[in-house]
Amino acid sequence: MKKNAQNAGIDEVNFNDSAFKVRLKRNLEILSNVLANPTTVLGLIIVILMLAMAIFAPVITEPNTPDPYQMPRDWKAARSAPLTPGHILGTTNRGGDVFYGVVWGARTSLKLSILVVTLTVVLGVIIGSVAGIVGGKVDEILMRIVDVFLSIPELIFALAIAAILGPSFTNIILALVIVFWVKYARIMRAQVIRIKQREYVDAAKIMGASKLQIYLKDILPNSFSPVMVQATLDMGNIVLVGATLSFIGLSEAGIAEWGVLVSEGQAGISAGRWWASTFPGLMVFLWALAFNLVGDGLRDVLDPRTETKR
């Protein structure tokens, strides 16, 4: 295994296409290992269902006009129980169709998590790489900033930012980006430094590859797996934190978002109106659970710490 990895490194610098095969083979191997774990498969199935629901939301339910991310409100049918005609999962206190909220909430969550994960990964990878490659003072300063960011618990930090920016969905995205990028910067920097020290990068240097080439061909692809594990876990966590912010009241009024729906619906639970918060709450749970299971499974496979030794 180790030999393979080393060969792969040299091959890549030589721009041999066998590198691709080696990596493909390794990825297939990883994939089969991931799929060997039943809980990971369970997670994967839920993830796929969730994504399908988010993507096909306009097909599943008629989009609300003019803004499909707003709940359609049938004020006069407020507080209808599930299985009411036209409201299969019932309605909220504001007459919002819970089913619509569940379906479009998946889309909202997907939008939220994809946006935040993409932005944080890009931001974190750039900053972490710069710190790791440039090193010295730049590294020192960047890492101190990262430390400062990491010293504030994430939900509290996001809560404070979102509170100060004012309640809106965009501000939640902004707050989460500000909070979540640091992890990637840290992971990336550690990876860069670790890989920089490996022999095959030295070999590449000897062969005269430029810094950028080494970065693009060796460091970046090799840092992929820890970033991917973190990104997968964050796909779940971001929705969890985002929903918590919404629950506390920092999202837009009337938006089709699970946290907002739970918050709206919690008041009715005592009167037996369990549906308005149960279904959306369950969705948040399933969403986070699914991504956590998959991320956990990926980590087990990709993280050598838990690999069997014998």
């Binding site: 003019p66 409100r73 004020w75 206190n93 004012g166 008041a267 009715g268 005592s270 009167a271």
Partner: protein, 547 residues
Amino acid sequence: MRNILIVAYSILLGLFLTVGVNAQTIKNPGVLVHAADDEATTLDPAQVEAGEGGETVILQVYDRLLEFGPSGPELIPGLATTVPSVENGMISDDGMTYTFKIRKGAVFHDGTDVTAEDVKFSWDRIVEMDLPEGQAGVISDIVSETKVVDDYTFQVILLEPSASFLNSTVVSMAASIVSKDAVMANGGVVEGEPNEYMAQNAVGSGPYKLKAWNRGENILLDINENYWGNKAKLAARIEIGAEPDVRVLGLRAGNYDTIETDPSFVADIEGADGVTLHTGGLLLEPIHVGFNLNIPNGALPKEDTIPTDFFHDPRIRQAFNYAFDYEAFLMGPLAGFGEFNPHYLPIGIFGHDPDAPRYGAQDKAKAEALFREAGYWDNGFSVSVITEEANLFADAALVLKDSIEGLNPNFRINVLAVAEAVFDEAHAQNPVEYAMWVKNADPFADPHPYMSAYQHPDGEWGEVHGFANGYRNPEKIAELIDGASTELDVKKRAAMYSELQKMLFDDPMWLITAQEGVTMAYREWVTGFVHNPLWPRPSLRFSYLGK
């Protein structure tokens, strides 16, 4: 390790299970537990804001010269032994001088006697301190001079005759009588500076004494055994800051005796075991949508496309009034508990004319015609409405959004539901930098404060929001409001308000969504339940209640 844990757990479990709760027995005997919404900010009558949590406590621990009785707007004696009237000679014929006989034998919680000197001191104190958050204006706007005639006689001379002095000034929480000795011993009176002692303690003469204030948790009140009137039957505990649903759950579980709620929770309470829902009567705090006729250039949010003089056109204001889905708001958020009341004079206030024309029902055709006439139908517009992230305000804003957007897809309403402080700050700007907002009014017992604050072109809000730019006939409206305030002839006064309502239908400055119905919930074991919306929220006097 495992053994000891198992042992420990089972011991703990055993202990707790023995404390099983029997739902049938009265919980917390001897104490009335009320679950409130807001934390009090201050307990000082000179500092408290109208409608704020501290008023709940001030109502119970302080006395005023007069009080609203348990039912409706009639006045009953408080520390004054009689309600002044022209007939009993305690109001001078010119309506300028009011005389109050102070009750002998009333004592403050610190043991000192209540005298006319204390009354004068209390009234003068709030005017002298003149705190921005307080309600000094309630007295200073109307009172010219206070006099101690003798130890037990107090006299007030007004600036001009007022029809609303007794109903809005004397009974106000701001006019609560405090112990002069206690104040002078603890910081005295300093202009513009809050009195820290008074903010946290209460030395009044009311049926309750303040026992403890555990911020964020509860306020404990003890029975005042030396009260001059009917003693309270129960000690009281005000539980602070529980979420609405927790309050409902607590009530159902019997942990709370009375809770504050709003109509959107009625369905949660109806039919619950051992719980009585009190409905009927209306709150006097109309929930309104405001129109800004004084928008500064370039101040509006980026999404807004309206011109700054958008609401100067009465047809636009009328169109909004026609477009709003009143029924949706009443049947949805208010769950049917309330009344259509598209006027700023609430039902239940003197001068409200039930026969005056009103909006009350959505009329899309008329709204469309008016928008077309004003020239906005084809191109549409986008406008932001700012509101507090509180249930009913946000609900009203959303109903507005749904109503307007449902009328024409080119119309866009952006609901900005912001933190209370953010809203307060935005709303306190002069001029306000938003075109529309949703909030409620303060309750008053007399029509004049409503009219002067909310409709008068030069009134508190009329000035800020530039009503003079929009009224078809601002002088006539100003004249009517001013005239009605000094008119002592009841019939004439009523006619003037009736005319005002007709004019304001044609020339609306607000969109009044509905008048919220009173909904209170309490355990069946609470006896003597009475509720008066003229008392500060939650509109309960604990001293009347038993269990």
